[in-house]
Subunit: 278 residues, 3 copies
Amino acid sequence: MNPPAAIALLTDFGSSDWYVAEMKGVLLAHAPAAALVDITHTIPPGDVARAAFVLARAHAAFAGGTVFVAVVDPGVGTARHPLAVHAFGQFFVGPDNGVLEAAYADPDASARRIADAKLLAGASATFHGRDVFAPAAAKIAQGGETTWRKLGPTVEVPVRLPDPWPTTAAPDSDGLVTHVAHVDRFGNAITALGELELEAWLNQRSVSGVVLRIHGARGSSVTEIRGLARTYGEAGEQPIALVGSAGLVEIALPGGHAGLRLGLAPGDVVELHHRETA
Amino acid sequence: MNPPAAIALLTDFGSSDWYVAEMKGVLLAHAPAAALVDITHTIPPGDVARAAFVLARAHAAFAGGTVFVAVVDPGVGTARHPLAVHAFGQFFVGPDNGVLEAAYADPDASARRIADAKLLAGASATFHGRDVFAPAAAKIAQGGETTWRKLGPTVEVPVRLPDPWPTTAAPDSDGLVTHVAHVDRFGNAITALGELELEAWLNQRSVSGVVLRIHGARGSSVTEIRGLARTYGEAGEQPIALVGSAGLVEIALPGGHAGLRLGLAPGDVVELHHRETA
Amino acid sequence: MNPPAAIALLTDFGSSDWYVAEMKGVLLAHAPAAALVDITHTIPPGDVARAAFVLARAHAAFAGGTVFVAVVDPGVGTARHPLAVHAFGQFFVGPDNGVLEAAYADPDASARRIADAKLLAGASATFHGRDVFAPAAAKIAQGGETTWRKLGPTVEVPVRLPDPWPTTAAPDSDGLVTHVAHVDRFGNAITALGELELEAWLNQRSVSGVVLRIHGARGSSVTEIRGLARTYGEAGEQPIALVGSAGLVEIALPGGHAGLRLGLAPGDVVELHHRETA
């Protein structure tokens, strides 16, 4: 038998209670040789969209076969289904409330309802992370696709999250409007604008570069950044814009904290305009 | 040889110093293939009772054979003994100061003093987590009960913690009095009253339900909750009571924070009264 | 093939973003059976010296062969080299900015530049932890010294950190002057003065002991402690001094918080004077 795949956990359980430990106890009871990885457990309680965003950023660095268990589950014990989605050659286990949105970016994603009667019969009404998702994830980590297929019927229309920050055209120009999606520990304000989308827009016309107009402090101040940097090390005293490690445009102030300096929070508007060739 | 059992760590070391890492370094040096799990390291410094409470909640989700290392050890280097307790088919390693109280809930629990001369001779006076408990735990994880028996002599009367929140009868009725034992990250105020104790009391008389009277804000306010919910999803705008995943009665305000809303902290009084059948 | 060595991670990435998870995803993709250990991820952003201090304290508890990946890397994407240092029978992987200083305490330490063209060609300009250091560390964990030798050319003069707190002679006596290097979660103020250095100084003359004069609250108050304790348990209401588990002289107030009580922070001066035999 092959060694089990790694299992990566993402929850809103924090690190002071015993809930994550209980999930890991169950995971190891079923898959003793599986490597367990914490993505994070500091998702704000019930913040499904934040968890979905983090999972979308994290999963691609893991090998095929990895099982992600994402438990941000305010509806635990109610009618929402427990799901296991196969996508990107990986598996995504969690409630059908949108937290697994990252998986559906794969057009071939396939969702199954976890319908194992034995699992569900013994489950508490308050902690499916421990009672349903962990044992299901452990089984998938050991048995892969074959096991996943047997978990239950296909779910044709899983719950989807609307894109909270779709890129739009700037109202009075041929620019783009995106939003701050996340401010990380370094103060980098990561927007929702991906590298490919940026390049497509830049290539529309032969332009030499870009100007970013950042509406910070909840709209009360505007900062302009000319051009995109390549590394954090290029920064002086002023904020820079660059494509970060997540493949998203971000605003950074290396040695400082762009989020604090510019008053940026998720939802703040960032406009991109062409800088015409001189 | 069998693969080693999992080893779960519970300490008051926090996550910013290097103490947990040193323990893990020693654990892996002795048991390279053991899975290491953090229960939590955010126990307030020296709070033996809190650690004991968390360990009591966490251990049952782990497989038989699992080794728990609980190091909240203000008396390190003094006369208190290092212990390894065999209970519930699992092993509990730590100082003889009550932190292993969870193990003694098994009437067949058996405690041994870690008396390995080599271990103790080389130990620092300030960090037995690294120098005594980690190597002992790693040995047990690899050798199981046989190894545990050889660690040292049986300790007949280990240090016990008094139950900080025993259930009592309500003074002026046939109700029950329990206490808030823990407020978790979601704001759920978890009481010390277990499901079995609750059911025994409910079954005393044929009653249709229960009313909880919660004395929050350190006694200055009283909230009444009628009946027990089954899931968090049933809540509206008002706090609910239910039996949570730990098998304990808890007060919850899903989408909110019951602890903050009602001003609840460990030690606050919760009374349960019969609601007579109409 | 032997099982891979353990891999221990030390970063300034925090635990709320997905950066540590991405590193672990890559590590497990390359070395699925490697045990991953977090030293800490709460190093203040960019604080290379703090990370170097923590790594120096943590590494000795780990087995030979362990691979440490230390990523505090404000210069990522610029000309600074990625390094892999072999020292103390262990491996230290990270940027050439001083964060691996602990390794150079081994006079036989040998540094190599990670020059794997394939690795570097595919790397982002903003996250070498994931793109360069993690795959290199995973390879070393699997292949040991042989693999390490093939990573790239020897670096004769890696970047070194100046000792931030060298021990000096007290200006007006034959005493010693050291500094607070770290205040841990328990409030222990750990100085930069090592046990061997202390003993050498004590043995210079036949003296019965030592008096410590601690300049706290950034110099505005002075506390005197007479003699060295052996364990935290010996403390009464007053601060004590002892050689802690890291082999460094520390000021402790068990049951309290020496750092808060005495107003101590890294850089504060601690003088040691002989206490003459009566």
